[in-house]
């Protein structure tokens, strides 16, 4: 853990961009068809629940990062094991998100550029940000937040003005009942993007004002949830369910569809900038969490020394974890949520909270 201080407003900005990050890119929760907004809504509520679990756990050890306090909770051996698993998890997800963005850029804009180059350049900025520390990332986030929101509002206005939106595509509501919606929630939207806030447990110790922190987290989750609902609903209203499900990047298609007065068209740049911002923050935070975990576990005082080597590891994981985009997506949809997200975002934190609760109650009894 480095010596740093970020305030609640910055945490809010980071959480907000983090949640939008790659969720804006993909057809999030499209298995729920036109009820995707419900799936995201329930995912958001689930995310809030997880946020409270993480927060409670954090408040038992307000100045310590998870790898430090799990040792106290589970003993030295098991604590280290759990911390190691989380480290791998954070770095793997950082690599996954990096791959997501690299694939997007290669598919859509840089067809002839090797993935390695795209990923390497992207990661280089991330590595630099993490090298500079969390305060710098947070300040960058504040700046990018303004740009992101300006783009989002401009894009929204343009889509509305171009008259593409047909909200009747969002009907019928709950065609097949709640089952497909809940299935989507429990296999996708709960974990990505909402459950991923687990990474912020590494950031919470830097925020001194815990009350404001709680507020910032709640608002960030709600606001990003609403934004995702609006975005996915517009995608469906413009493209229809079938086309949205068939495209790799629905938002890109929606923005492609904008044609106003013969000259306001081909606004792909909007999409690109918004995504690069989201991707940068998301990868940075996962990467940062991974680096800090390693430095805590291995007792490295100066974490800057770790940034470059771990960066290279992440870069190579991002390239070797799947040989094609199809494989990458298959892993992301069928394997990762069930075997990584569910245990590490939900089960382990809840278990740790129970342990912490029992342990601390015991302590209190002793002190009495």
């Amino acid at each position: 853990m480095e010596k740093a201080n970020i305030y609640a407003g910055q945490l809010f900005v980071l959480m907000f961009i983090f949640e939008l990050g790659s969720a804006l890119l993909i057809p999030l929760g499209i298995e729920a068809k036109q009820d995707v907004w419900l799936a995201i809504f329930f995912g958001m509520l689930g995310g809030l629940l997880l946020f409270f679990v993480h927060l409670r756990l954090h408040l038992y050890y307000p100045d310590k990062t998870p790898p430090e306090f799990v040792k106290e909770l589970l003993g030295k051996f098991f604590g280290t094991v759990v911390a190691c698993i989380y480290t791998v998890y954070f770095l793997y997800i950082a690599a996954r998100v990096l791959r997501d963005f690299g694939e997007m850029l290669v598919t859509f804009a840089y067809n002839e550029t090797p993935l390695f180059i795209v990923n390497a350049l992207f990661l280089l900025t991330v590595v630099y940000g993490v090298y500079k520390g969390i305060e710098v990332i947070a300040r960058t986030g504040e700046l990018l937040f303004v740009i992101l929101y300006a783009l989002a509002i401009a894009g929204f206005v343009l889509v509305v003005v171009s008259g593409l939106i047909d909200f009747s595509y969002l009907q019928p509501v709950l065609e097949d009942g709640f089952k497909p919606v809940l299935q989507t929630v429990f296999t996708e939207t709960w974990y990505v993007p909402f459950g991923e806030i687990i990474v912020f447990t590494m950031i919470y110790p830097y925020v001194k004002n815990k009350k404001a922190m709680k507020k910032a987290g709640i608002i960030a989750i709600l606001l990003s949830g609403v934004n995702l609902i609006v975005t996915m609903s517009i995608n469906i209203a413009v493209l229809g369910v079938e086309l949205t499900a068939r495209t790799q990047f629905p938002l890109l298609n929606t923005i492609h569809s904008i044609q106003i007065a013969e000259f306001l068209e081909r606004l792909d740049v909007f999409f690109m900038i918004a995504l690069i911002i989201g991707g940068f923050i998301k990868i940075s935070l996962f990467f940062y969490a991974g680096v800090i975990s390693v430095s805590v576990i291995c007792n490295v005082k100066n974490k800057s020394k770790l940034v470059y080597p771990i960066g290279i590891v992440v870069l190579f994981i991002s390239l070797t974890q799947a040989s094609s985009y199809a494989e990458h997506m298959y892993e992301g949809i069928t394997i990762v949520p069930l075997y990584m997200h569910l245990p590490l975002q939900v089960i382990v934190p809840v278990f740790l909270l129970i342990v912490a609760f029992i342990k601390n109650r015991h302590k209190k009894e002793q002190s009495l």
Binding site: T107, F108, A109, Y110, N111, E112, T113, I117, L121, L124, S168, Q171, P172, E175, D176, L239, G240, V241, E242, L243, R246, N253, H256, S257, Q259, E265, R266
Partner: protein, 404 residues
Amino acid sequence: MKRVTTWISGLLLLFLAGCWSSQELPDLALISAVGMDATGDGQYAATFQVINPGNVAGEGTLSRGGSESPPVTTYSSTGPTMTEVNRRVSEKVSRRPYYAHTNLLVVGEQLAREEGLEKVFDAFERDPEFRTTTRVIIAEGTTAGEFVTALTSLDKIPANKVIKTLETTESFWGEHKDTNMREVLKHVGQSGHEPLVSIFTLHGDEEKGKKIDNIQTTSPEARLEATGMAVMQDGKMIDRISNEASRGALWVLDDIQKTAVSLDWKGQKDALVFQIVRNKTDVSVRIQDNLPVFDIQVSTEGEVGEAHVPINVSNPFLSGTVEKKSGEEIKKIIEQAVAKAQELQTDYLGFGELLHRKDPKLWRKLEKTWNEDHFPTVEVNVNADAYIRRSGLRNEPTFSEDVE
């Protein structure tokens, strides 16, 4: 550390220059339209309309450097798949084909009928350079190849001529729909609303249409004209509709912006014209005895555009009668169009989609055989309300002997 950073920054300059797979403008062939045909032996033929930049720039100055060559050049090639055809054309063009500015995709009638649009679309849809906002039309009576080779006056680039014609006629007369690829794709994958695609015909002499002479006369020998709309099922063209049938269909789809309806008055045919300025169509569905019933409610507003009978249209009592007559006429057009769609057993009016939204359970039962069994027998009620607000600059026509 500082030295490392300096080195990295220096290296970055190499990568960030953005020269990876860069394309110089003079090395690109800007394709304005693509014409796709089936050759009959299982192969495809594509014709690419490439813009000659020098002959398009400087519009208005005809005698610029004495260059009298046409604004576009066409190249064609054949092959078993779209991608192969698109790549093979490089044998003939000196530049790399560039699709980002392709605004028009012309599909030959034979290809549309036999293979369907999906097959054509897939390659274009996948390609990030090509846009789904590209307009799609079907060329009838000629091949798509011949169609894109014809030169047009007024608009230098033939593709632009077609697009502007579509846009204008959709909003001014309302027999043709300006459909782009995204809209067609949206409906192809979805049951209960089949897409409609506009049909264009090349009138006149195909050979003369290719010569620059064609655009140097006041009455071109070869002309591109919108002539109807193709009815699609499962992505394949199965029939065509035109005139009132297509106008009525657009009326149901609420795509009518402006148009005109002729009315009979006291036994005299086409005596009055009702010009529509604003139109709103609402289609609703209700379930009766487990079967859907569709109600079409049209509210339209307009003015009298022509009067050939002695009638004082500014008389508020008389205009009520004219309004009623206009409403009836519109109702007739729509009813005929619905009957036509039912006869063709193709739901391009979007009724199925509407039912899907209203009653998903019932829809699931009917979905499989909707086009064949249920749609043709479904009950449709039409009600049209017309409102006349103005009568142009005159109130009575000239022969005002016995004005009512």
